[in-house]
């Protein structure tokens, strides 16, 4: 099976690094990292990931702004985006739904749970 490509856009440098280390350890994924929205968008256009994990609160461009740009760009509009959030939050969910985001992943959990959530989304989207 092909390794699935994941792009994670989050300003927490350590968080990205550890998600990458953990996920790549499984041999199922290649993980690309961007620490801000702008870098994230250009990386998304370049590597065409299977899924993007996108943090909501970032300095500069917020996750929602990044999402909007991704969805308006022909090169990236088809890519599945899952918003990363520190908490389950109605307000954010509504904003995200308005901006056609598909999925939500809560950050504080063990890698096993995170991986299951990612696989679940990929399966639902017919990517695996």
């Amino acid at each position: 099976m092909d390794k699935k490509k994941i792009l994670i856009i989050d300003d927490e440098f350590y968080f990205c690094k550890l998600v990458k280390l953990n996920l790549e350890l499984t041999g199922e994924f290649v993980v690309y990292v961007a620490n801000n929205g702008k870098q994230g968008i250009s990386l998304a256009r370049k590597v065409k990931p299977d899924i993007i994990l996108l943090d909501i609160i970032m300095p500069g461009m917020t996750g929602f702004e990044v999402l909007e740009k991704l969805k308006k760009d022909k090169k990236t509009m088809e890519i599945t985006v899952a918003m990363l959030t520190a908490k389950e939050d109605e307000g954010s969910k509504i904003s995200a739904a308005r901006l056609y985001s598909e999925e939500y992943i809560v950050k504080t959990q063990e890698i096993g749970t995170l991986r299951a959530a990612i696989n679940d989304i990929l399966k639902r989207k017919g990517i695996i």
């Binding site: 109605e90 307000g91 504080t108 890698i111």
Partner: protein
Amino acid sequence: MCPDQMFSVKDVSILAVDDETEVRNLYDTILTEEGYRVTTASCGEEAVERIKQEKFNLLLLDLKMPGMSGTDVLKAVPDRLEGTSVIIVTAYPSLESSIEAIKSGVCDYVIKPFSPKELRNIVRMVAEKAKLIEENKKKERELAVATAAAEAQKLKARELEDANEKLRETQNMLIQAEKMRALGQLASGVAHEVRNPLAIIILGINYLEEKLPKKKGRNPINDTLKIIKDSVKRADKIIRMLYDFSRVTELDLKKEDINSVINTSLALVKNKLKLEKNIKVSKEIKIGLPKVLVDKNKIEQVFVNALLNAVQAMPNGGQIIIRSYDKLLTEPGNGAGNRKNDNFKVGETALIVEIEDTGIGISRENMSKIFDPFFTTKGPQKGIGLGLSVSKNIIDLHRGFIYAESEEGKGTKIIIKLKIAKEGGANG
């Protein structure tokens, strides 16, 4: 006199300040729809100009704006803002800015992004409070006049005094409730920042678990990893509680069968109960009960909190009984009657759930405190004292009633009264 009757949104003027057009439009649409008089300003400078021209009842203020910030606005025209209730709207409250804002008399917080419902609730709460205070001041003035008047006026003064006392009571209650909410909001803002590093620590441990040479059985390395992980989880749990505490303002109401809510709650604590060997749980469920209009997850949370408290109150084992039944309320008291906080009428049938234990009980002295936030007798390792206060918030929001009966050394019964859903339509 009930505040609902004297509260009319038509005489409430709001100035909404935000540099984002979208947010301003949202304010305009939602709050105008509610009937408020809404003025918007797109920056701090414009806000100050408006405040100089007109006196507003309520100010919705973005903290971070290019040019003059929210706090700058508050500092620029403090005199003109006397009597104006201020709600700060911010994406990411830092502790510092929050404290500064509270010092300058801010009433409440809304964290961005917010839902229309959240906005409506908070604005209404603050507006109601402002109205009450205004009303109260008016009464106070009247009272002063009346007291100064002749002997013959004494009777009238007495009446006014009573009214005044009542108003003051309501006002205090509202202010207290709001302070708690503001505190919760603050805590949740900080909690959010703490959750990121916690997530990182957990992922770090996960990596080490995979990478360290695996030794069989117990060994210091595995033990250490487990201790770190458990501790992080404990911290995360506290944060989640704080967060829950701050945001019980929205309900997702559906018609539910209370017995099935009880069953899910029991399932949720099943594992915990299994560990406590000598605890017996029994159900005394009435079948065919009418449905209740509730937010299932929130009511589950209430039952789980009560069940966990019961377990914790019986370190040497005992019995838990969970009951459900409906009851015609024939006497005033415990939420029934004509007082402001009475959600039930005498003669109304309520749905009642009781969670009873044979544990250590609650002392007389503590009975009045158990629903206060952060009141706990369990010590820092075990409790943070939010369980019952969150539960009370939830039940209040459902227009129900929660109270406790207890005898030290014998046991405790938590009693929850809920409204029965009306027949017909999905929302009752």
